[in-house]
Symmetry: C2
Subunit: 489 residues, 2 copies
Amino acid sequence: MFIPDMESGPLATENPLLKIMRPRSIAWLGASNNPAKMGTIQLHNLLQGGFDGKVYPIHPTEKSVMGLKAYPNAAALPEAPDIAFIVVPARVVVGIMEDLGRRGVKQAVIVTGGFKETGEEGASREAELISVAERYGMRFLGPNCIGVMHTRQAVNTTMFPICVLPGPVGLISQSGSYVTQVQMYLQRRGIHISQAISVGNEASIDVVDCLEYLAGEDDTRAIILYLETLRRPRRFFEVARQVSRVKPVAAVYVGGTRAGARSGGSHTGALAGNDRLYDALFRQAGVLRVFTLEDLYTAGYALACQPPLRGTRIGIISHSGGPVTSMADACERCGLEVPVFSKPLQEALRPLLPGTASAANPVDLTFGMGHSHMTNTLPRKILESGEVDGVLIHGIMGSSYREVFFKRFEETGGLSMEDIAREQEQGLTELAGIPKETGKPVICSSFMDRDQDDCTRLLQDRGVPVLDTPEQAVEVMACLGRSAALRKL
Amino acid sequence: MFIPDMESGPLATENPLLKIMRPRSIAWLGASNNPAKMGTIQLHNLLQGGFDGKVYPIHPTEKSVMGLKAYPNAAALPEAPDIAFIVVPARVVVGIMEDLGRRGVKQAVIVTGGFKETGEEGASREAELISVAERYGMRFLGPNCIGVMHTRQAVNTTMFPICVLPGPVGLISQSGSYVTQVQMYLQRRGIHISQAISVGNEASIDVVDCLEYLAGEDDTRAIILYLETLRRPRRFFEVARQVSRVKPVAAVYVGGTRAGARSGGSHTGALAGNDRLYDALFRQAGVLRVFTLEDLYTAGYALACQPPLRGTRIGIISHSGGPVTSMADACERCGLEVPVFSKPLQEALRPLLPGTASAANPVDLTFGMGHSHMTNTLPRKILESGEVDGVLIHGIMGSSYREVFFKRFEETGGLSMEDIAREQEQGLTELAGIPKETGKPVICSSFMDRDQDDCTRLLQDRGVPVLDTPEQAVEVMACLGRSAALRKL
């Protein structure tokens, strides 16, 4: 394939993100005692989130900012902090970076917008910024970014609270909204994040640096990218090809259409490229390309938690005929097979099923009161048979179901709600262990989300993705297969 | 096109669903004083839901069932009720229908499974059932269905509570799960339903009857179908072509793949047909075909609430660069245009935007504290310009945003949270009026769902769809366009 001949940046001897993602000390420029200022909101958020490093507000006039001792300028700081965090008007950013450089600060996050993304004047301001940073050997995120989140380190420089649990997915985004606004969306879906980086205009640190950094982070088992452009496509290709051997990488790229490219240009000053060229680049680098945020986040979580899908044969289990049929149809539409089980396997399953149920695949238990076969015996027997490469399950229901169906049992003394819940939790823990034991993925769907049903939450928190619809579970399974094929697993 | 020459059923002089969806009296077979029985759970649910008609439990031995006077058989009933609801073992269903027929009951809902979907024996039992019903002039839903929901009439014969608000979407489904389990899913997305019908094996009443019925229901402004097969494709075509002139119809059809067809066969005894044939049938009947439940429900709600999209030109508004770029890219990928606004329109918008914002389309307000232009002035000006056929808006945030950003304003006495909330609600009410005024659709997306943010809820409840992601909003907009084109609007 053709790769445009662009200069590769120098390989950082030490990746600047090591300090940016785990700063022990931060110079903070742009916070004041006015709670309406963005920099104040962001600092408030950092402190609220439990950051326990040192913060040195720099303010021209105030003696203290939000209860912290303030310093008039960088020269007055008691030490050269690990990073500077900058959210001040665009016209003063260059001067401030000069001061910070002189004080020995080596890393910065520049939130301020009004650079390359706004036209010529901004572009020349951005060039000055780069030149100052190079003079002092500084590396920085941004400008025009929203900062970073490190879920296990209580580092969150954005203005949004972290809503997700610490998890295995690392996120690199050319949109700040896809790090911040998206938090509540990810929370609802039980998608757990390790670290998230908003790269903005990438004047110094770009997605390639971030990719190299996350490749070395043990908390991150899959990396997902939101891309409007690649500023160093050749270097991206080299790095991504290596990283994808170690951990799965997935990307959305929105710069390949005219409308997407034009929009991205006024967003982060990006120059986008040909869609097919990017498509080939991703494929050859072993990067799974997806086309929606939904697929990016949900497939990212599955890639991080589940074994690869090393074939195309899928087993389907549910107690509902509609969802298994939707799954079967969706499988075939995206290149997965739903093989009819062998006679011996069907005979082995038969005793576990009610008389009216189908054992052929899909396995439709038909609606009944018990779930235990569905969550345990069936998926295990089906995966261990060697007749499929992965299993889809729809409709494991716990608290929502108990409320509707079992509550009156308890009232009549027949069964205890707690006993049922405990038994079900144990079953789900066993189910969550099956992918590791068998080396084959299990993906679920349920119409009840984690706030509506404890089974959805229990599975998601144990690394079994539970999607909102049968078709979305199939899509995620297909992504596991496509990623494994690209990575030659 | 070729349409298989299948017999059309006789046109019902009075559609049996008129009684089934609004029964004033029900004979109930299968409830007892054992709370674990399905029939008991369903009756409990009907009564809990506030049904205020008469219910006559029929039970061979009990004198009363759940506090209601019970009758030993149909002959003993004080009147011939509007419908019979039947959830008893398969082997006694035919005999019971005979008794009901003799008593003058003309409509029934048969939940019991174990008929055509289970093989030869079941198929012959189903044939007997049909013959008894014909002898007495009875029509029935099922067997092997889950019953019906009528949100405004407090009629719910299923075992799930109705979770959605009464709304404009009518649902016809060959899967019971897509009526019942899906309730909490629809609730979370603010998709409001008028009536829902589970058709099961369609031995007497089929989707065509349901379509004819819902066509005449004023509470239903769009009809959505989950289909594994069409048992009367020719008649479906004739009816759907007429209905789609009056109100939009959308369908998922899962019987067109080998895996989907096999699965559907053991679910509802359906014989599925060629995918391309069905595709052509839907297209020529003016029925929008979609491929996922997500699209079916979300596009269905948009079709019911929003004007048709009569062209392909889309305006995009947000305060976030990522989402507008995702929307622009997704638009082009599904055949929608994002035209650059004319100079006069850009100049008209400019005073409403901050200095760094782009007015070209997408309109990216860049992140700031105020939302009012985004929800009102901008969409109105853009739609009234005549330069676009519909508008997409991402990221209208209310309570979630106020919690994070404004709370401290109030603490410092600057602004009142209630004032902001009130102003915002007024703005959203105005926004919700714009589609009606301009005859052009507005579709939104937000990462905060209706439980996380009051703006999402306020918009959804006023008929403006708010989708979970920017791409899903585009997909729904594209569905509005495809439906309008099929319906020749």
